[in-house]
């Protein structure tokens, strides 16, 4: 999907909001599957976001500075008997972008509401 520069796509808003919610619940970092699950639960969707759509968005958002990521220490994954995770965190810019997108959405909803 093409978009205007400086405008967040719905999936980006969704990732930022889900990441911010997780942070408020004490989980500062998230991996891909966790954020997909969080988004599904928040949006009451039937399916998890597709692999390609999710990881492409995460990659793009990291390049844009909305997210930061790091690879988990491999020994942690090995101890838990699972592959290591790539952990993402919403940056300050990401938080501000999510807030701005949220207020724009509210403003649009108010404009469209019948008088």
């Amino acid at each position: 999907m093409r978009r205007k520069s400086g405008v967040l796509l719905p999936i980006e808003v969704s990732i930022l909001e889900a990441g911010t919610d997780l942070r408020e619940r004490g989980q500062d970092e998230f991996h891909g599957f966790l954020i997909a699950k969080e988004m599904r639960d928040r949006d009451a969707a039937r399916r998890l976001t597709a692999h390609g759509t999710l990881y492409k968005a995460l990659d793009r958002m990291e390049r844009a500075g909305l997210l930061e990521s790091r690879w988990e220490d491999p020994s942690i994954g090995a101890e838990a008997g699972r592959p290591r995770r790539r952990l993402y965190r919403v940056t300050g810019l990401g938080e501000r972008a999510a807030r701005a997108a949220g207020s724009a959405e509210i403003a649009r909803a108010i404009e469209m509401a019948p008088a």
Binding site: H31, G32, F33, L34, A36, K37, R47, L48, T49, A50, H51, G52, T53, L54, Y55, K56, D59, R60, R70, W71, G77, R82, P83, R84, R85, R86
Partner: protein
Amino acid sequence: MTRFDDLAIGLVRQWVRLYTRRLECEVRAGRRAEIESDLWEHRREASAAGLRPTQSGLEILARSILGIPADLAWRRVVTHADYAQGGTEMSERITRNWWLVPAIGLAGLHMFVASELGYPSSLRSPSVFIGALGLATLAGVTVRNRAPKLAGLLLLAGVWAPVLTAFKDPGTEYGGPVGVIAAVLTAVGAIQNMTRRPITAEPRPA
């Protein structure tokens, strides 16, 4: 009997392997590891929720199939980013090292004069001195990245002879137009090199 979710995971792995082929090593390994982690978490979650292998296999397969256009678009973006970065590095390299050809030519000229012609009449210098200037120019070329200031001084030391001889005794075998042009270009390159920071090997971010 093979469980359906195993089969689905195997297919997803094959697809990821396919669309990440020939990408930069770090990008390829990163995407494969990330999907591997996702598949593991998905299966564990499905198992905890009591889903049958067929159901979880279908979910996994659907997530992969629905993401194919985005996978291909991502590959295009990453490939173009690599290309753009390679192009930038190439132009940076050219901008930085354009003067190497005249500098090496000048060093060769010095050496040739020293070994074949011996004493240029106008310079009145021994051939060993001319040879030393050539070696200084070559040394400057060699250390240009590690010690730009020293390299600049060495190169500047090596450029004066052909210019001087050309002005003092135009038309002599040493310091002809080619030598002078090479000397001037090398001098400009040497000064440009001196104003740059040394290049050090920096580890790539993880």
